[in-house]
């Protein structure tokens, strides 16, 4: 099968994930998603290749646009996946949430990656807290790779 060189895979992954200082995108491939910290948006409907899903309403710890302060993900090397987020993200529902998908975006909402959560839809009742586990590399709750 035709494919892509692993070094280039890492360049693309690093440019479109929060692998820079304090969660800004990497700059090895220009700055296609800006130069300020990326966001992780939560949706109540599936994201598609052409559009983000319908964003959940605000809660305690979650505001329109998505989680911020994701932390600087470990960079991809030799084609390895990038784990997001570095820092555990938490939000408490003030109205019931059904969480289906996410979009990893620039500060301004330009999308880099999207996908459904394992086990979606995830019901979060009022007063309950949704967390995405943070960690370095393979320990993070979301693993992004390119083949």
């Amino acid at each position: 099968m035709a494919a892509i060189d692993q070094t280039l895979v890492s360049l693309i992954l690093n440019a479109l994930t929060p692998t820079g200082a304090a969660g800004i995108p990497g700059t090895a491939l220009g700055t296609p998603v800006g130069t300020t910290a990326m966001k992780l948006r939560l949706n109540s409907a599936l994201s598609t290749a052409s559009a983000a899903g319908t964003e959940i309403v605000n809660g305690t710890g979650y505001a329109a646009g998505g989680f911020t302060s994701l932390g600087a993900s470990t960079t991809s090397s030799a084609g390895s996946a990038v784990g997001v987020p570095l820092t555990t993200q938490s939000a408490t529902a003030t109205s019931a949430w059904s969480i289906v998908s996410f979009d990893l975006t620039s500060t301004a909402g330009v999308r880099g990656w999207f996908g459904p959560f394992n086990g979606q839809p995830i019901a979060v009742a009022i007063g309950n807290t949704f967390q995405i586990t943070g960690g370095s590399g393979a320990a993070a709750g979301i693993q992004i790779s390119l083949t």
């Binding site: 035709a2 996908g115 959560f117 394992n118 309950n128 320990a139 993070a140 083949t147």
Partner: protein, 63 residues
């Protein structure tokens, strides 16, 4: 039923199989899912060619 509390739920220790979790107001895990793997792929099949080969310039499907 749970006791009212003012402080935030405790940060859980890392559990390698859990990518996300839902905690109740007392900090108990009520739902959890494994890590989410997002695998994006370059799809050459859409070029109308055998995806075992990379087309030479001008040799692909006319568009």
């Amino acid at each position: 039923m749970h006791l009212l509390r003012l402080e935030a739920p405790p940060e859980p220790a890392w559990e390698p199989d859990h990518g996300w979790r839902v905690l109740d107001a007392d900090g108990h895990v009520v739902n959890a899912g494994e890590r989410t793997f997002l695998v994006a792929q370059f799809n050459l099949a859409g070029l109308g060619i055998d995806d075992t080969q990379v087309p030479l310039l001008g040799a692909g499907q006319e568009r």
